[in-house]
Amino acid sequence: MKRQMVLRVVGKLFIPYMLLFALYVQFHGDFGPGGGFQAGVIAAAAIIFYALIFGLPAARRLAPDPIVEAMVALGVLLFAGVGVAGIVLGGNYLDYFVLDGDPVAGQHRGIFWVEAGVGITVTGVMLKIFYMFAGRGRSLDER
């Protein structure tokens, strides 16, 4: 689909805004609908969109497999790390109250990092799934 002019132009226009929207959904999750799950899927969708238009190899250069896999792991570690931080600071596992002197601020801080972890992992997982299916058999380029 690389030769489709319309798609390439529209894609180039859309993809930055999709990523931006993902960030918005990620960080606005504290106050409105949103959060790491949705943001992660949107971010991954942007890259999948890129892969559909410019081909899988191009997407793999943009987000190489090792990085994607590391994202899966790091996101989970971040999530769990917040939990462990709660124990280190004298609370229970996943205890956000102790993350800051002010319990409400602590809740904010806790959920922020947890959602960041979720976002990273979900992006990684969606991409990984996409790569795994797309990488089998004929590549998208040859279609």
Binding site: F31, G32, P33, F37, V125, I129, M132, F133, R136
Partner: protein, 121 residues
């Protein structure tokens, strides 16, 4: 309360039974997974629908709103959807590899292939 007062339950039941039927009746591995997804979707509805209160709003404290929708089912189902996606992805991945190993995604053909190879060996 009429029989259709809570029509969401009817939809839930319909999806549930339809999904389960597809899983059992179809021999195609992909169709089975589709049925499984429909079956799981019915559960999402089962949880979400009763959480909604007529006239209720999203559970964010603000002036002028007294009636809130219960947010817990949404959180639960968000988790369940993630689980469902993971299951579907894994199921499809296995189906792809079955196709590579057997050259078919029809259950009866695969079983026949196994019988042949066992008989041959």
């Amino acid at each position: 309360m009429s029989a259709f007062g809570h029509y969401s339950y009817w939809i839930t039941v319909l999806l549930m039974v339809a999904g389960l039927y597809i899983v059992i009746a179809r021999g195609n591995l992909i169709k089975k997974l589709v049925g499984l997804s429909i079956f799981q979707t019915s559960v999402y509805l089962l949880y979400i629908a009763p959480g909604k209160l007529i006239g209720g709003t999203a559970p964010i404290i603000a002036d002028g709103f007294r009636l809130y929708t219960n947010p817990l089912p949404h959180v639960l189902i968000l988790t369940a959807i993630v689980v469902g996606v993971a299951t579907l992805a894994l199921g499809l991945a296995i189906a792809v590899r079955i196709r590579e190993a057997y050259g078919s995604i029809e259950e009866d053909e695969i079983l026949a292939a196994d019988r042949d190879s066992e008989g041959g060996a």
